[in-house]
Subunit: 243 residues, 2 copies
DNA sequence: TCACATTTGTCCGTATGTATC
DNA sequence: AGATACATACGGACAAATGTG
């Protein structure tokens, strides 16, 4: 016998408003691109004040369900940025827990390997072309002596997309956000960008040839090299003031 | 050449307020349990109105950085619920994307296998005892003809904790939330609970004996059986109105 | 370039509900 | 029961942004 009594906690008004709107979005009644009424109009329709509406909109905005713009023709528009927003919050969560480099690397290895194996099975011509273009662009940057950090990180996002699994995409985005946060804490390093693009090229070759073992070996080597580099630099990972 | 121009977007006042408080929390200046000043006091200190403060607090509350209580002695208290909140938002994100059972199962397999392998290396006596107690309690429930869904789900959380990797813990929590959401859509099923606890017991045995191959085989069989059960029942996974 | 309308952003004053002492 | 301190909620007002004519 479980859950006979349901917890009685009276919802605050703005919570009621936000979950009503959220339900409409999840049910597909409101779709991305649809414009919500203005704050004042919403207030009248819900019979609540404008302040209440605003707090509800803040929640929906932070969750990525809507975006808000000021000015003439502005207002709230339904979006599908929930995934994007969430990865930012995940980063906060892991910062709060002061997650270390070892934990991050282990998780990254697992996720990226899973992605790679699915991508080998599922990648189509377009995926391959995008990955090749990514590597080519990165190599061009490197050749001109420029940093290729962002574009190298994007390689992994493209792989995730090729896996055709949106759960992977979400997890990978989180991992990538953590990674970018890590990169941001150190001075740009050309050698690591150079090594990364070379590794990516080799991994992509193995993927195209569907050589699973080689691809996994290369990926593991690549990720461990990156991790080792951070450890050598003694980066305080995911902490702000070194504590 | 990338990112020469940095996006200029003037922060709204409530965003400025919330990120200042958030930074204090992440830096450890404000710690869980600390009480924030009242909304009015905060407004005076930041030189902003109370509504602005309230919108900032809404953001922090949704993110899990604070909790707010009404009444005498109430107010905002610093918390560490970020991880907990985030998994709820992840669920929203995946609902929004209408993720299917196949994607869910693939991701679940990957994460849980990773967790199991780390747990085999890292679980200490206390972890083992907790897992054993979980299985024993579940078996007792089953024996008395009662459902053991919640406690069976908890088995996987305990495994995640034993992996000593908080990134895994977070991902596993997300997977578990999705799973519970799935279970909630169907009538309780005794057979699946019964099969699950048996699988858990076998997996735990293999874990204690550090028999990696057997543990992985058993886990895969267990998770695929669960997935198969849902597919047979033609559950509309992670969608609300069957579309 | 200059109003103008619309909508969000922000502030203030006030009243109510709620939980603790 | 009453006083207190706080969040919650409402309505009014003005500022700022933004597109239109």
């Amino acid at each position: 016998m479980r859950r006979v009594f349901v917890p009685v906690r009276s919802k605050r008004t703005f919570e009621e408003v936000s979950s009503q709107i959220k339900k409409l979005i999840l049910d597909g009644v409101l779709q991305p691109g649809d414009k919500l009424p203005s704050e004042g109009t919403l207030g009248k329709q819900f019979h609540v004040g404008r302040q209440t509406v605003r707090e509800a909109l803040r929640i929906l905005e932070l969750s990525g369900f809507i975006s808000v713009q000021k000015g003439f023709g502005g207002g709230s528009v339904v979006r599908n940025n929930v995934l994007k927003r969430t990865s930012g919050l995940l980063l906060d969560a892991l910062q709060m827990e002061k997650v270390g480099l070892k934990e991050f690397t282990a998780a990254r290895l697992l996720i990226e390997k899973g992605i790679l194996n699915e991508a080998i099975d599922r990648a189509d011509g377009r995926d391959i072309r995008d990955l090749q273009r990514n590597v080519a662009e990165s190599k061009a940057l490197i050749k001109r002596g420029k940093f290729a950090t962002d574009i190298n990180v994007e390689f992994h996002s493209l792989l995730a997309r090729a896996s055709r699994n949106r759960v992977y995409v979400l997890f990978e985005r989180t991992i990538n956000d953590m990674h970018l946060d890590l990169r941001r804490r150190r001075s740009p390093n050309f050698a690591i960008d150079q090594a990364a693009v070379q590794a990516h090229e080799e991994i992509l070759d193995a993927l195209i040839e569907k050589d699973r073992d080689r691809a996994n070996r290369l990926l593991e080597k690549h990720l461990l090299a990156v991790s080792k580099h951070y450890r050598r630099r003694e980066i305080n990972f995911l902490t702000r003031n070194g504590c």
